[in-house]
């Protein structure tokens, strides 16, 4: 969450000043979103690999 808020500050600083005091969107939000998605999918794939069945299929114990 802290990294998110820094991204937020960065996003606000990078945006053009509108002069009317608005919360500005920007690439910071976009990269945060795609980053979270890729990280979550990669971590889950890793967890599936770590939990993979040790005994080969078809062989009886």
């Amino acid at each position: 969450m802290t990294s998110l808020s820094t991204l937020l500050v960065l996003a606000q600083a990078a945006a053009n000043p509108v002069g009317t005091g608005r919360i500005q969107g920007g690439w910071g939000y976009v990269w945060a979103s795609y980053g979270i998605t890729w990280a979550a999918l990669a971590l889950y794939a890793l967890s599936l690999w770590m939990r993979r069945p040790r005994t080969p299929f078809g062989s009886k114990e």
């Binding site: 509108v18 005091g21 608005r22």
Partner: protein, 161 residues
């Protein structure tokens, strides 16, 4: 009773419970009691009930009603039932920084309290987005058209009522 029969019975009961639960939510008018926000006309007609409790008010920003104070710390605008000038509206005083899409005629939901002087003091300002997504027009930067528009309305300080 065999386990197989018991399981089937359990399934039927669970499906009945789930189905009636869903039907209750879908057709039980619970939306009437648990509304996310009130419209301006509902707020105005509710009288006493609307005062002092924290409530949400939703509607459209009335054209020509956006007004900042000199230091840009307080924002005033009117939330109306619809974009037409004659629609019923409520004056909102917000201390929150509005999101980038805030402008005239856009849907907003504000959270706060309504007092007897007829002012809705909001500490949470949210903008509603439609389900439409379009690229900028030819030769136009995204959001550019909107910035020029909002500058104009900031200068025009006219309360609509």
């Amino acid at each position: 009773m065999t386990p197989a029969l018991r399981n089937r019975l359990v399934a039927v009961v669970a499906l009945l419970v789930a189905g009636s639960g869903l039907a209750f939510v879908a057709f039980g008018n619970i939306g009437d009691n648990l509304v996310y926000y009130w419209s301006p006309s509902e707020l105005l007609s509710n009288g006493e009930k609307a005062y002092s409790a924290t409530i949400r008010l939703g509607g459209v920003v009335q054209p020509g009603s956006i007004q900042w104070n000199a230091q840009h710390t307080t924002l005033e605008f009117r939330v109306a039932d619809g974009p037409k000038p004659e629609a019923q509206s409520v004056l909102v005083r917000s201390t929150e920084t509005p999101p980038q899409m805030f402008r005239e005629k856009i849907g907003v939901v504000v959270e706060g309290t309504y007092d007897r002087s007829g002012v809705f003091s909001s500490n949470r300002l949210m903008v509603n987005h439609s389900n439409e997504y379009r690229p900028p027009k030819e030769g136009e930067a995204p959001r550019q058209w909107q910035e020029t528009l909002s500058e104009n309305t900031t200068a025009a300080a006219t309360g609509a009522k």
